[in-house]
C-alpha cells in the first residue's frame, strides 16, 4: 500500500497532470517522434482521440519510442497501433490472442514497454480467457480496451460489453444480456491498476495512461469510445451524448512523473496520492465520492452499483502493488532473453554426457 495523504500548507494546488511540456521532452524528443501513420478509422471515432492521448502520454512520460512494443488483436481498435509510435515495432495479431502474444513478447524482451490495444469484442468475447489469464499472471503491459459496445469492423453487432437495454442501430433489437465488466473482472483476477475513462475526456485519459506506464504489472484501462457509425444513437449507452451526460468522475486525476522536480501541495483530506513503482505519483482529488482506490471490496461494490444504476463512473478504480510482475515471478536474467548469446543458452557437452549417464 503506497497511498498517502500529503500534508498541505494551504496553498492552492496547481492543475496536476498538466505538466506543461515544452517543444521537447526529457529525452529531447518532440511530440512528432511519437506519432504514427494516418488513421483510416471513421471520422470522429473515439479511438482516434485515444490514439492522440497515447501519443501525448508517451511523449510526456518520456519513453524512447523504440523501447516500446505495440500489440493488438483484430478489430477497429487493433488498427490503431499503426497510428502512434512509428519507431516502435508493432504486431497486429489475430482476434482475441493479443494478451497471450504480449505475454510471450514481454518474456522474450522484458526491457521493452508493452502496450496492447484491444476492443470490447477482442477482450470481452473471443479473447476473454486469454485476457483474464494475462491479468492473473500480472504480465507487465498497458492494456487498453477501446470499448464501444459493438463490433464496428463487421458493422455493428452487439458486443459482450453492451449494456442491458441497449438498442441496436436500425433494427431495434434490445440487448437483454448482462454486460461483461472488464474492470470488475480485472479486479477479481488480481489486477493492480484498473481504470475506466471516456475517450471524450483526454485529460483524464492521458493521466491514467501515464499512471499505467509507471505501474509495474498489468494495467487495464477500459475506455468508452463511441462508435460514431454504428453505436452513437439514442438507444446506446456507449454514445457520445450518453457518456457526456452520465460521466461521473470518481476524482480529479493528476499525474506527477518521477522525473518532475515540482512538488505540489494538496488540500488536506481532499486528495489521495498513489505512489507508483518508479516514483511517479498519481493524485486523486476528491469530488463527490468518498472513495479509496486501494480498497478492493469497495471498488467492486462501486462498479456493481454503477452497473445496476447504469452510472458511468470514470477514474482510477483500483490500485494494488502486492503481486510481483510476471517477469519477476519467473526470476529471469535482467537482459532480454531474445538476445542472450549462444554461450548462455547452450550448456557444454559435458552437461549432455552427465545427463545421459542417468539413462545407462
Amino acid at each position: 500500500m503506497t497511498s498517502a495523504t500529503i500534508p498541505s500548507d494551504g496553498s492552492e494546488a496547481p492543475a496536476i497532470g498538466a505538466r506543461k511540456p515544452g517543444l521537447s521532452n526529457r529525452l529531447n524528443l518532440e511530440l512528432k517522434a511519437y506519432k504514427g501513420g494516418e488513421s483510416t478509422l471513421c471520422s470522429g471515432c473515439g479511438h482516434d482521440a485515444i490514439t492522440s492521448a497515447i501519443i501525448k502520454a508517451f511523449f510526456e512520460y518520456g519513453i524512447e519510442p523504440h523501447h516500446v512494443a505495440k500489440l493488438s488483436g483484430i478489430g477497429c481498435s487493433a488498427k490503431t497501433t499503426a497510428y502512434f509510435l512509428n519507431r516502435a515495432h508493432g504486431f497486429n495479431g489475430v482476434h482475441g490472442r493479443m494478451a497471450a502474444m504480449a505475454a510471450g513478447s514481454k518474456l522474450a524482451n522484458r526491457k521493452l514497454v508493452h502496450i496492447g490495444v484491444s476492443g470490447d469484442g477482442d477482450t470481452a468475447s473471443i479473447g476473454l480467457g486469454n485476457f483474464l489469464h494475462m491479468v492473473r499472471r500480472n504480465v507487465p503491459i498497458l492494456y487498453l480496451i477501446e470499448n464501444n459496445g459493438c463490433y464496428g469492423l463487421t458493422k455493428g453487432q452487439f458486443s459482450a460489453t453492451a449494456d442491458r437495454g441497449s438498442v441496436k442501430k436500425g433494427g431495434g433489437t434490445v440487448n437483454e444480456m448482462t454486460p461483461i465488466d472488464c474492470c470488475a473482472l480485472s479486479i477479481e483476477m488480481g489486477c493492480g491498476y484498473v481504470a475506466r475513462s471516456f475517450s471524450g475526456d483526454p485529460k483524464q485519459v492521458v493521466a491514467l495512461l501515464k499512471g499505467a506506464l509507471a505501474h509495474g504489472g498489468t494495467a487495464v484501462i477500459d475506455i468508452v469510445s463511441p462508435c460514431v457509425t454504428f453505436n452513437n444513437h439514442e438507444g446506446s449507452t456507449k454514445s457520445y451524448p450518453y457518456a457526456k451526460a452520465h460521466e461521473d468522475p470518481l476524482h480529479e486525476l493528476g499525474f506527477v512523473p518521477f522525473f518532475d522536480e515540482v512538488r505540489v501541495d494538496y488540500d488536506p483530506g481532499t486528495t489521495t496520492v498513489v505512489k507508483l513503482p518508479d516514483g511517479s505519483l498519481i493524485t486523486l482529488k476528491k469530488l463527490g465520492h468518498d472513495y479509496d482506490p486501494t480498497n478492493r471490496s469497495q471498488a467492486l461494490d462501486l462498479l456493481n452499483k454503477a452497473s445496476v444504476e447504469q452510472q458511468f463512473l470514470t477514474g482510477l478504480v483500483y490500485f494494488d502493488q502486492s503481486t510481483p510482475p510476471f517477469d519477476e515471478q519467473m526470476d529471469l536474467v535482467p537482459e532480454p532473453l531474445a538476445t542472450l548469446p549462444a554461450s548462455r543458452i547452450r550448456p557444454p557437452a559435458s552437461a549432455l554426457h552427465a545427463i545421459l549417464e542417468r539413462f545407462r
Binding site: L71, S105, L107, G129, N130, M330, L337, L340, P347
Partner: protein, 619 residues
C-alpha cells in the same frame, strides 16, 4: 481387449521352433495389470534387468486414459538381433487383471507360457498353454507388512518369478530395482525382498520350462534406454530454447516436463542463478501458440509441444506465423483422435493436417525423427530452422516414440551452432542503410528481420498477417499479395534443402522399394530382414526425415518402379503428399497402412508388401 495377439505365423530366422533346445534371447513378455497399481515400475525393472544382461530390449506401454483401475498392458521384447518393434504375439503372458483375463487368455497363441495369479486360475480352460499358477496374493503378505502397499509390491513378485522362469540374473534385477528407487532406500529394500521372494518361491514350486531362455550377451554395452519425450525435451534445452509455452495434453506433457527439469538444472545463470529461459503453462493451446509467436516475434527461440487436439486449436495462429514469417516450433506428439478418442494410443495421423495447418495456402516444414537420437537432434535443430526460415516448423513424433522406452546409443553433442538466421542489428542497419522487412535480397525467399527494441531509425516495422508490401506497409493490391505468396513458395523450396536429408539404404538386386518415417523404422527394418530371409525379396529403403521433400526423395521415387509408403494412419497422409509432389509417379506410390492404435509391427509390413507384389504380378 485391444491388443491383437494373433497366432504366430512363423518365426523365420529370428528364432527356432519349439523344441528341446530353448529359444535364446528372443521373446516377448506381456504383463496384463490394471493401471494405478505401480506395475509400471515393475515392468521397467523387468526391462532394465534384461538390458543389464546385455540383451537388446524395448518396452511398450499400452495404457488407458485413466489414472487408476483400467486394464493396461506392458510388453517387453528382448531380441538378440536388435529387433525392438512391437511384435503381435506374446510368448509369455503375466495375467494379473481380472478385468481383461478372459480376452488375455483367449488371445494367446498355442503353446504360450501363462503366468497367472492364483485367484484367476479358474479362467484357464485351454489345454494348449504352459500354465504357471502363482499365489501372488499370499506371497506378498509376509514380504509387505503394510497392507496398503501390497497391491504395488505384488508386481515385483512377478519380476522374481519371471527371473526364475526365463533365467534373468537376479543381480541385474537387484541393480534395476536400486536404479528405479534410487532416491527411496526403504522402497528399494522392500522391492528387492519381494523380487527375491518371488524368485525363491518359483524355484521351489514351479517346474522348469525349456522353451525360452535369456543368456548374458554384450549387445547393450554403452547404450542408454530413454523415452523420446525426454530426448526431445533435452534437445530443446540444448538447442537454446528461451521461451516454452505449453498446455498439458497426453502424450506431450512429459516432453515439456522433461524440458522444464533440464532447464531448471542447466539453464540457470551460473553467476546469479537467474533463469535464461521462461516457461509458461498456458490456459489453452490457443494461448500457448500465441505466446510462442509473440516471443518469436520479439526474438526468443520459442517452442511448444502438443498433440492433435492442440494442433487443431493452434490452426489460426499457425497461419499468422506463416504469413507474418515468425519463427516458432511445435512438437506434435501424435496420438489417436479427439475427445476421448484413444489419447493414449499412437498414430501418425497429423501429418497431412500439420503440413498445411491453417487457411489460405499455408505449408510448413516438418522434421520427422525416427529414433531417440533424432528426437534429441531434431528438437534442437528445429529452433535453428525456425529462425533460419522465419516460419513455423513442426517436429512430428508420436506416442510410441514419445512415451515408450527405446534403446539408443548415447547422443552425440550437437555439432551445429546456434543459428539466429537473418537478423539485422543496429550496426548492420547503419552499414546497409535500407531495410524492407519482406524484400527477398538473397533470392532464397528468406528476408531480413529486425527485432523489437532496435534503435536504428529504419528498424521498426509493423507486423500483419494479411497483405503487405515488401516494406511491410498495408496493401490489398493483387500484385503485392500474389508476389508475396510466390516468394513464400521460394522460401519453401529453400526449406527442401535445409530439412534433414533422408537415410537411404540400397540393396544390390532389390526389387521392392519402401519409404517410411518416424516410429515405423524398427518395424520396417525387421520387415526387410524377414522379406530377405523368408521370401528372398531384397528391398531398398528410404527413411524420410523431413518435409518438404528434397532432391534425394524425388530421385528415389523416380528411379524405382513401385514404392511402398508405410505409415500409421488410415488415409495415407504422407503418400498423398508424395503423390502431389511427384504427380507422374502417383499411380506407382502405394500405401501400407497401420492404424489400430498400436505401434506398427514388422509382420503387417511384410504382409502388405507381399500382397502388393502379388497384385503386381501378371496372372
Amino acid at each position: 481387449m485391444s491388443i491383437a495377439m494373433e497366432p504366430r505365423a512363423h518365426r523365420g530366422n529370428l528364432g527356432v521352433e519349439a523344441s528341446a533346445t530353448p529359444v535364446v534371447n528372443d521373446l516377448v513378455v506381456t504383463v496384463a495389470t490394471s493401471n494405478g497399481t505401480g506395475s509400471q515400475s515393475a515392468n521397467l525393472i523387468l526391462m532394465r534387468a534384461i538390458f543389464g544382461m546385455g540383451i537388446p530390449v524395448s518396452g511398450k506401454n499400452m495404457f488407458p486414459s485413466n489414472i487408476q483401475g483400467l486394464p493396461t498392458w506392458f510388453t517387453v521384447r528382448a531380441n538378440a538381433s536388435g529387433w525392438t518393434a512391437r511384435r503381435r504375439e506374446a510368448d509369455v503372458l503375466v495375467a494379473m487383471n481380472v478385468e481383461s483375463i478372459a480376452e488375455d487368455i483367449a488371445s494367446l497363441r498355442s503353446g504360450a507360457i501363462l503366468v497367472i495369479t492364483k485367484s484367476l486360475a479358474s479362467y484357464v480352460t485351454r489345454g494348449d498353454l504352459k500354465v504357471f499358477v502363482v499365489p501372488f496374493d499370499e506371497l506378498v503378505v509376509p514380504v509387505c507388512k503394510d497392507a496398503r502397499l501390497r497391491k504395488m509390491v505384488v508386481n515385483i513378485l512377478y519380476v522374481g518369478v519371471l527371473a526364475h522362469l526365463l533365467d534373468i540374473e537376479m543381480d541385474e534385477v537387484k541393480n534395476a530395482i536400486g536404479r528405479q528407487f534410487a532416491k527411496k532406500g526403504s522402497a528399494a529394500k522392500l522391492n528387492t525382498d519381494a523380487a527375491i521372494a518371488g524368485f525363491d518361491w518359483a524355484r521351489e514350486h514351479l517346474p522348469r520350462q525349456n522353451e525360452f531362455t535369456l543368456r548374458r550377451a554384450n549387445l547393450t554395452e554403452g547404450k542408454i534406454i530413454i523415452e523420446g519425450n525426454q530426448a526431445a525435451g533435452l534437445g530443446l534445452m540444448f538447442g537454446g530454447i528461451t521461451v516454452l509455452a505449453w498446455y498439458p495434453i497426453t502424450p506431450s506433457s512429459s516432453l515439456c516436463e522433461a524440458c522444464i527439469d533440464y532447464l531448471e538444472e542447466y539453464r540457470a545463470d551460473p553467476e546469479t542463478g537467474k533463469a535464461t529461459y521462461a516457461v509458461i503453462q498456458a490456459e489453452d493451446e490457443l494461448a500457448s501458440i500465441a505466446m510462442v509467436i509473440g516471443a518469436g516475434w520479439a526474438g526468443a527461440r520459442a517452442a511448444t509441444a502438443t498433440a492433435g487436439p492442440g494442433i487443431s486449436l493452434m490452426s489460426e495462429i499457425a497461419g499468422l506465423a506463416y504469413f507474418a514469417e515468425i519463427p516458432a516450433v511445435i512438437i506434435d506428439v501424435q496420438r489417436m483422435g479427439p475427445s476421448t478418442g484413444l489419447p493414449t494410443r499412437t498414430c501418425q495421423g497429423d501429418i497431412w493436417k500439420a503440413y498445411q495447418l491453417s487457411h489460405g495456402d499455408c505449408k510448413h516444414p516438418m522434421l520427422l525423427p525416427g529414433n531417440m537420437a533424432e528426437c534429441f537432434e531434431f528438437a534442437a535443430e528445429s529452433l535453428n530452422l525456425a529462425e533460419r526460415l522465419q516460419t513455423l516448423v513442426f517436429v512430428m513424433t508420436d506416442l510410441d516414440l514419445g512415451m515408450n522406452s527405446w534403446m539408443s546409443a548415447p547422443f552425440e553433442p550437437l555439432t551445429k551452432p546456434i543459428d539466429r538466421g537473418k537478423v539485422l542489428s543496429d550496426e548492420d542497419l547503419a552499414r546497409v542503410g535500407e531495410f524492407a522487412r519482406y524484400k527477398d535480397i538473397d533470392g532464397d525467399g528468406i528476408c531480413y528481420r529486425t527485432l523489437p527494441g532496435s534503435s536504428h531509425p529504419n528498424s521498426a516495422y509493423f507486423t500483419r498477417g494479411t497483405g503487405h508490401t515488401e516494406a511491410a506497409t498495408y496493401s490489398e493490391k493483387p500484385a503485392d499479395w500474389a508476389g508475396n505468396l510466390d516468394r513464400l513458395t521460394r522460401k519453401f523450396d529453400t526449406a527442401r534443402k535445409l530439412v534433414p536429408k533422408p537415410v537411404i539404404k540400397m540393396t544390390a538386386g532389390a526389387t521392392v522399394a519402401i519409404i517410411a518415417f518416424g516410429s515405423s523404422d524398427p518395424a520396417v527394418e525387421e520387415a526387410r530382414a524377414i522379406l530377405a530371409a523368408e521370401e528372398g525379396t531384397k528391398t531398398d529403403y528410404l527413411r524420410l526425415r523431413g518435409l518438404p521433400i528434397g532432391s534425394e526423395v524425388f530421385e528415389f521415387i523416380n528411379t524405382h518402379q513401385i514404392v511402398y509408403v508405410v505409415e500409421q494412419n488410415r488415409d495415407a497422409q504422407c503418400a498423398s503428399i508424395l503423390r502431389l509432389e511427384c504427380p507422374d509417379r502417383a499411380p506407382l506410390i502405394r500405401s501400407i497402412l497401420h492404424y489400430n492404435g498400436l505401434p506398427i509391427d514388422a509382420r503387417s509390413i511384410v504382409e502388405g508388401i507381399l500382397a502388393g507384389e502379388k497384385r503386381s504380378k501378371p496372372s
